[in-house]
């Protein structure tokens, strides 16, 4: 058994699953899970040994010999893909069943496997042409998964936006790989750090991969696509698909020379994405859209780590760069795990209530205790709070930034604002997830659908449990995961070969275990004390108001109101209100929603200008043959003139 065979099993499992998706859902589940486990095993193998698996075949696709390789960096992302692919497969058995979605479920399973397979290929191929093919196939598969409910206009629009934006990115990547191939004379990819003339190509890669990763302001496609896709698809899109953009950036910043300003730019974009991503999330009232904006935030945190690692490499491989990179890489895993958990939790809520509107929820913990607790666990993790995994990765990035400041180098000027704004991002994320947990799961039901909610089945609960357990495991024993990060970061920068963690992860883990144990003890102790002293129930104190109703509870919009007010310059919330006028008000209403500012105020105006210009140009194409002959003549004359002028020179 070696990684090659394991990968072979994984690919076979996915292909067999793809064909059995229509007729034999059980076989599909079995083969998909087998495939995922085999892929995970191969990734763990590589991460543990730090070895590199390389396979060159004589089979040529598109005139290029197939070349696959799995190094620690690919394996790091492959592990995440395998875990989320596995749990997502199981989840959709309960979530998107043949009974509820007879038309879209079977083909959805097939597209699912196709997407997983192609994402795997993106991670494995070492050839520019094949990379582009796999990238495009994975993008298209994702389109078909996003538009599972094509009958809704909103879904179709989201799908189109995704497809259009993705292709803008792919176009840049096409230019990037084509240029690279033209300069190096081959489509083969590999380390070429010494060829400094290739450095400017990084900007093309940054646009293409950054768009896929959803960094601000290229995130325009992300919120609507992630919100309108089925929840297991949202989970894999948010957890893995946008990480493919990160993989591209990490991969090519390690293989290729980068311009001097690249590190600063990536870090700045990261800071902007982090703060504005969470600000936009606070303004949302749609549960899944809110989670989607948090992906922008977390991509920002990852980019801060990567950006400062690049700055460090440019400044003599300072040791704090490794900390920042380790934090960024670990956050790739962490975000994949807790965001998938949150999306699956949101899916369970959506499954039973049929709505994503947060103002209709409330008190769901009664009906869905499992979902509520697991979602809260994910919320604590994504807010970067100890003792869970989100804190570990943010802590590593913070340590990198603090060391960069202490080093008093030129990096400090960016590290100070980055550290402060990373702290601000954490506090904003906390505010946002207190809002989500409070409004969705706590309090009293605000509507009929929330009252009639019920818990999801075990096929949906088990995946969430697995993800929750992974979040707890990374939080409580981070040092166990260090070898994986170490091999990935030394694959990125061969000089960073320390096998010992640069930060006291073991002590942190021990402290986390202590906190968790003490918290549990204290909770039990307090509960016993309360029981002993006697417990009685009464209505919530509402300042003496006699008949409180659930509608009087604080809503998501009012909870976030203070902070969205600070950011109203960019959020530009739209408000429709009929304020109270008369003494005995009959009608009063207030409605607010936060649109996607970049899309509405930048992309759409630009689009309409382009449209206007192209409409004007279209007048030239009117179908009259006589005029076309005139164009021909003018064209010929112009060419002749050009040739004459050229000849004169």
């Amino acid at each position: 058994m070696n990684p090659g065979w394991l990968l072979c099993i994984a690919a076979t499992g996915m292909v067999v699953g793809m064909f059995s998706a229509f007729r034999a859902p059980r076989l599909w589940l079995l083969t998909s899970l087998t495939g995922a486990i085999a892929a995970l095993a191969s990734a763990i193998w590589i991460l543990k040994t730090g070895a590199r698996w390389d396979w060159q075949s004589s089979v040529a696709i598109g005139g290029e010999a197939l070349h696959l390789q799995l190094d620690a960096l690919s394996a790091f992302f492959l592990a995440l893909l395998a875990v989320l692919g596995g749990v997502g497969s199981l989840y959709q058995r309960g979530y998107w069943t043949d009974k509820t979605h007879p038309r879209s479920a079977p083909s959805g399973r097939a597209w699912w496997n196709a997407m997983l397979l192609n994402m795997g290929f993106v991670l494995l191929v070492a050839n520019g042409l094949h990379f582009l093919i796999a990238w495009e196939l994975f993008t298209v598969c994702a389109y078909f998964l996003i538009t599972r409910e094509r009958q809704h206009r909103e879904v179709r629009q989201a799908g189109w936006l995704y497809l259009a934006a993705s292709h803008a990115g792919t176009l840049c990547l096409f230019a990037f790989f084509a240029w690279l191939a033209a300069r190096t004379g081959s489509w083969e990819l590999g380390p070429m750090r010494d060829r400094t003339e290739l450095a400017p190509l990084f900007w093309l890669a940054l646009f293409g991969f950054g768009l896929k990763a959803g960094m601000f302001p290229l995130h325009i496609w992300l919120p609507s696509a992630h919100a309108n896709a089925p929840s297991h698809v949202s989970a894999i899109l948010s957890g893995v698909a946008i990480k493919m953009g990160i993989y591209g950036l990490v991969r090519f910043s390690s293989w290729m020379p980068v311009p001097d300003a690249a590190g600063w730019t990536v870090a700045t974009l990261g800071v902007v994405s982090a703060v504005l991503g969470v600000a936009f999330a606070l303004g949302q009232h749609d549960l899944k859209r809110l989670l989607a904006y948090h992906s922008v935030e977390n991509i920002g945190i990852i980019l801060i780590g990567l950006g400062f690692a690049m700055v460090a490499t440019a400044h003599g491989n300072a040791a704090w760069g490794q900390l920042a990179l380790a934090g960024g890489l670990l956050h790739v895993w962490n975000h994949g795990l807790f965001k998938a958990l949150l999306f699956l939790g949101a899916g369970s809520v959506l499954h039973t209530t049929g709505t994503r509107e947060m103002s209709r929820f409330g008190g769901l913990w009664r009906a869905m205790p499992w979902t509520a607790s697991l979602f809260t666990l994910g919320a604590v993790a994504i807010s970067g709070l100890p003792p869970l995994n989100g804190f570990v990765s943010e802590w590593l990035v913070f340590l990198g930034l603090f060391d960069a400041v202490s080093a008093r180098g030129p990096a400090a000027w960016t590290a100070v604002p980055a550290a402060v704004l990373l702290g601000v991002t954490g506090a904003l994320a906390l505010a946002c997830f207190v809002k989500v947990c409070g409004v969705v799961f706590l309090g009293l039901p605000r509507s009929k659908v929330a009252e009639q909610a019920h818990e999801c089945g075990w096929t949906m609960r088990l995946p969430m449990l697995v993800l929750g357990a992974a979040c707890v495991a990374i939080g409580l024993a981070p040092v166990l995961f260090w070898p994986a990060i170490a091999s990935a970061s030394s694959a990125w920068q061969p000089l960073w070969t320390d096998s010992a963690p640069p930060a006291p992860m073991q002590t942190l883990g021990a402290f986390h275990i202590t906190i968790a144990a003490l918290a549990m003890l204290a909770a039990i102790g307090l509960w016993l004390r309360v029981k002993r002293n006697g417990l009685s129930r009464a209505v919530t104190w509402d300042c003496g108001y006699a008949v409180p109703t659930p509608r009087m509870q604080y809503t998501a919009g009012s909870f976030a109101g203070i902070i969205t007010g600070w950011f109203s310059w960019i959020l530009k919330p739209k408000r429709h209100q009929h304020p109270v006028k008369e003494n005995f008000p009959a009608h009063a209403s207030y409605e607010e929603h936060t649109p996607e500012t970049v899309l509405e105020h930048v992309v759409e105006p630009t689009g309409s200008v382009v449209m206007r210009i192209s409409t004007a140009v279209r007048r030239l194409q009117h179908g009259r043959l006589q005029a076309y002959i005139l164009y021909l003549l003018i064209g010929l004359a112009a060419l002749a003139l050009l040739a004459l002028m050229g000849g004169a020179k």
Binding site: L385, S406, A522, L526, N533, W541, Y554
Partner: protein, 302 residues
């Protein structure tokens, strides 16, 4: 064995000393107002009484309501264990514990704010919203203060960071941290711990529906947080590491007392700010810490 005993002893000192501070503040306020005021040990009596009392829970709340209080209290206690207690250092010191300290406070905030939303009360929702929103600015100030201390000492561990004096920017840092202390502990001018008008409160309104032992845990946690911030402020400014142990202990005790009396005086002499002015004051606190950082930065070159 001895190590465990030592940790327990420190824990006991922290837990027992904390409720003293609100008592001193109230005494100072009473003294300024010309009243006799409650005894300094009032909070101890209150806590003992609450611990024995029965609990009235809202019909709306989840089991997490009580668990949240416990987790918040534990996270504050764990944060206290990271803070060096004067010359003897902290029971546990490692690289990066300063950030753990900040995030443990955030964990406590998550729990109390969620517990407030748990009751479904609009007032408590208001308080929770204010708490988490203003904490954003407070967090920026604390991280900047930590960056300042880290830059001066070249370390990210509280014990080493707090050992040297704050240097030239000490006054700026102290002013910034004092403002953060007032905001994080819900004192005047950010919040009024004495008011009972739900509409205008932050912290007190979040705990309206708690009673009995959980309320005792909340009150004790709040006093512990106040003590932690006072100690942090005192140690950030004082050169604890340079003094002999008895002198350091005396200096620490003296300055914590000064801070406490200062809070009392501020509460007596200032009125509570209008809510729309709160962010401005917190931004000022952040800028004070930022300028302290700048002074520390320039100080290395002059």
């Amino acid at each position: 064995m001895i190590a465990t005993f030592e940790v327990l002893l420190r824990l006991l000192v922290w837990l027992l000393l904390a409720p003293l501070l609100p008592g001193i503040i109230n005494k100072v306020k009473a003294w300024v107002a010309g009243r006799r005021g409650p005894p300094v040990l009032q909070l101890y009596f209150d806590l003992a009484k609450l611990w024995r009392k029965g609990v009235v829970l809202s019909t709306a709340v989840s089991p997490g309501h009580i668990a949240g209080v416990a987790v918040a209290w534990v996270s504050l206690v764990c944060a206290a264990m990271l803070l060096p207690a004067g010359p003897s250092g902290a029971p546990l010191a490692f690289r990066g514990d300063a950030l753990l300290f900040v995030y443990l406070l955030a964990l406590a905030r998550f729990c109390t704010a969620s517990a407030a939303l748990d009751t479904g009360s609009a007032f408590e929702g208001m308080g929770a919203a204010r708490e988490v929103s203003y904490a954003v600015l407070g967090e920026a100030a604390i991280i900047t203060a930590l960056l300042t201390l880290g830059l001066q000492s070249g370390s990210v561990s509280l014990t080493t960071m707090l050992a040297p004096a704050a240097g030239a920017g000490a006054a700026l840092l102290a002013a910034g941290l004092f403002a953060v202390l007032l905001a994080e502990n819900c004192r005047v001018p950010f919040d009024d711990p004495n008011t009972h008008l739900e509409l205008t409160m932050i912290h007190e309104v979040m705990v309206l529906d708690h009673s009995g032992p959980p309320l005792a845990a909340i009150l004790h946690g709040a006093s512990l947080k106040l003590l932690m911030f006072s100690v942090l402020l005192a140690e950030a400014v004082l050169p604890i590491g340079k003094l002999s142990p008895p002198a350091a202990a005396a200096a620490l005790a003296g300055s914590v007392l000064t801070v406490t009396v200062g809070i009392g005086l501020v509460e007596s002499l200032l009125a509570r700010l209008a809510f729309r002015r709160v962010p401005l004051l917190l931004t000022t606190a952040f800028l004070l810490c930022l300028f302290a950082l700048l002074v520390a930065w320039k100080g290395g070159h002059l």
